[in-house]
């Protein structure tokens, strides 16, 4: 099954979201989480891949401005054989936003033949953001493959220069790249209608921000 969760850009609420899943044989769970704002968000997604050949894919994207905060804990616990997990988080931090992500791939003894992948990339748009990342791999099974990678920072200088040679100044270029990053995750949602709805909400946020700025 696929679960798509969206937190919109509005206001001062505290959002606490807890997703716990256990997968039986050959089961698949896909988690799509889009966080477009909100003053504080806390997410926990724990998936136990107990059944043989079960799999889990987490696709998270977030865009935080102002003093928004996002705390995400995502874990894939592999106990069954030949299970697979793929956790990926892409996000943008602007103004004074902050984010903490703990991603854990846990290979328990007996989960031979399993594969776990975790990637994270974060675009930092302003000086006062704070990003904390703790990608963890725990392993007590020999016959597994685990990978994780994280890339955090400003947009690639070469890319910015290229865009500038086309007259797109740095601030606009960064915004374009930020939007592209969020969109890259939305594109993966397996339902086009849902994709459209989410894109509408994003435009809503941009319009609202413009209004607030004027």
């Amino acid at each position: 099954m696929d679960l798509v969760q969206l937190r919109e850009a509005s206001g001062k609420g505290l959002s606490y979201n807890n997703v716990r899943v256990k997968c039986g044989d050959k089961a698949y769970f896909g988690w799509y989480r889009v966080v477009l704002g909100g003053s504080e968000s806390y997410d926990n997604c724990s998936v136990t891949l107990a059944g043989k050949e079960s799999s889990f894919s987490a696709n998270v994207c977030y865009r935080l401005d102002g003093t928004e905060k996002y705390d995400l804990n995502c874990e894939a616990v592999h106990t069954g054989k030949r299970t697979q997990s793929a956790i990926s988080a892409s996000g943008v931090l602007a103004d004074k936003a902050s984010k903490l992500m703990r991603g854990t791939i846990d290979f328990r003894t007996g989960c031979s033949g399993s594969v776990g992948n975790e990637t994270e990339d974060v675009l930092l748009l302003s000086e006062e953001v704070r990003n904390q990342s703790v990608p963890v791999i725990l392993c007590s099974e020999e016959d597994v493959v685990g990978n994780h990678g994280a890339s955090i920072g400003r947009p690639d200088e070469d890319m910015l220069f290229y865009m500038e040679t086309r007259g797109i100044d740095e601030a606009t270029a960064c915004e374009m790249l930020a939007r592209a990053k969020i969109d890259s995750v939305i594109r993966k949602i397996p339902d086009e209608l849902v994709q459209e709805k989410i894109r509408d909400k994003i435009h809503g946020k941009t319009r609202q921000k413009k209004l607030e700025g004027e």
Binding site: L124, S126, Q132, V136, C139, D143, V144, H148, G153, R154
Partner: protein, 470 residues
């Protein structure tokens, strides 16, 4: 298809496991009280400020809690640790021939004098908390390089310099074992490299623990002044005992502007050691610290060399390998703090777990808001040799500015069957093939070490990997 599991047994460590009868050694009563500290201080002829420092540290030690994270150190009972043992030599020796026979033989068997003959600048040999032998080659002395034992340096012309640096990077307040160290530290080296000096030959120091229940608390203080360059090698070994052994040493490295310091270590403490060492470096503008670290021994290890990049353009490179075998819980890693612009760090570690060994890689990269233009790249690869062992990777990144680039990657896996098959098809036995693969895996470290150390390291790997196919 399930491949045949190789039966692997504990390798033959007897080459390292020899010891001498403990005679005429002066022992301090076990347990730690201020009186014991005063006794130690008196024996060492500490200046007053040092005695006060020790007593203050003891106080902090008593008030600080044991760490509640990491491998268990329940097997360590401080009341049983004899903190100070002095071997039966009265003074320091500058000539190898004057060193007492049994002490000399220990080093002889471990190959120290040979290295000394070959192009090493000087050897400081620590035997049971006291520096026995020290010899600084003329050339190095001519460059103005000071390499001496720390205790006597406290009373010499560099006393003030030492006082202004001693335990400033690792203050006793830092953690319980730093406090313990501050109270009972004993022995260790002091190195000062004057501005512009380029010390071509590596300086090395060798530790040895011989008495049952003795703890090692040596302190290494290295100051590399502006534009200078030094390679320092720390290598150690200890015999096996049934009583717990503790190593709570401290290494403080001050790298000046545009200076370079390479600090290489092979830690091969025996399998009953609790290795709670603290190593820290502070790097000024344009300076560079290179850590090369191979961790093979100890029962339990907490080892996270930390680098503070305090000046613009400062750099840190860390290359490490950790091998955790049966009964070992090695918690190692690296910590880097970027606190100035244009700093960069590059961390490359490998770890191997076998026979129920537990290897944990724990790292932290902190990029402060002052560190714009900084870059950090951490890469950690782990090899699991069976399913009784554990390998955990717990990296953390805390970034407080957008003007920095931080990347991290980690991989975990097992020895590829195809690779083993390929090597076997070329005539190697399964055991040799695996040993070769693991040596290749650890090459990131061995290629950074001087030849004799690389050889020792590969020997260690072979010993660890050796087994009978059954």
């Amino acid at each position: 298809m399930k491949e045949n599991k190789t039966y692997v047994e504990e390798g033959d460590r007897s080459f390292y496991d020899f010891r001498y009868e403990d005679k005429d050694s002066y022992k301090v009563a076990s347990g730690l009280t201020p009186d014991i500290i005063r006794q130690i201080s008196r024996e060492k002829k500490d200046p007053d400020w040092m005695l006060e420092f020790r007593l203050r540290s003891l106080d902090i030690f008593a008030k600080t809690e044991m760490p509640n994270w990491g491998p268990s150190i329940e097997g360590l009972n401080m009341d049983n640790i004899v903190t100070y043992v002095r071997p039966n030599t009265e003074r320091m020796h500058t000539d190898w021939n004057d060193v007492p026979e049994d002490i000399k033989n220990t080093f002889e068997r471990l190959g120290i004098p040979q290295s000394e003959r070959e192009s090493l600048a000087g050897v400081g040999a620590q035997y049971d908390s006291e520096l026995v032998y020290h010899n600084v080659r003329k050339e190095v002395a001519e460059q103005g390089v000071i390499y001496t034992d720390l205790e006597s340096a406290l009373r010499g012309e560099y006393a003030d310099m030492i006082r202004s640096h001693f335990m400033k990077l690792v203050p006793p307040e830092d953690h319980k074992f730093a406090a313990l160290h501050g109270a009972v530290w004993s022995g260790g080296s002091f190195v000062y490299v004057p501005p512009g000096a380029d010390v071509e030959i590596p300086l090395q120091s060798y530790f040895r623990l011989n008495a049952p229940g003795a703890g090692q608390f040596e302190h290494t203080l290295i100051i590399v002044d502006k534009g200078a360059r030094l390679h320092f090698i720390e290598g150690c070994s200890a015999p096996k005992y049934n009583v717990a052994n503790l190593h709570a040493g401290c290494v403080e490295l001050f790298v000046g502007e545009d200076a370079t310091l390479r600090y290489s270590t092979i830690e091969n403490w025996s399998k009953n050691m609790y290795n709670l060492n603290t190593k820290r470096a502070k790097v000024e503008k344009g300076g560079k610290i290179e850590w090369v670290s191979g961790s093979f021994g100890s029962h339990v290890s907490y080892l996270y060399p930390m680098s503070v990049l305090a000046g613009k353009g400062a750099r840190c490179e860390f290359t490490g390998v950790t091998f955790a075998g049966a009964g070992q819980n090695l918690d190692t890693g690296c910590k880097v703090v970027h606190n100035a612009p244009d700093t960069s760090s590059y961390v490359n570690t490998r770890s191997i777990s076998k026979s129920g060994g537990i290897s944990t890689f724990r790292s932290a990269v902190v990029v402060s808001s002052k560190a714009h233009g900084s870059k950090s790249s951490v890469s950690c690869e782990s090899l699991m040799l069976d399913s009784e062992s554990r390998s955990d990777t717990i990296p953390a990144m805390d970034i407080r500015t957008n003007k920095a680039d931080v990347g991290h990657e980690a991989k975990i896996g097992r020895i590829s069957d195809e690779a083993v098959f390929y090597l076997m098809s070329r005539g190697l036995s399964e055991e040799e093939a695996k040993a070769l693969i693991v040596s290749g895996f650890a090459e990131n470290v061995s290629k950074e070490l001087p030849l004799e150390y690389a050889v020792e390291m590969n020997n260690l790997i072979r010993i660890e990997m050796k087994g009978a196919i059954g």
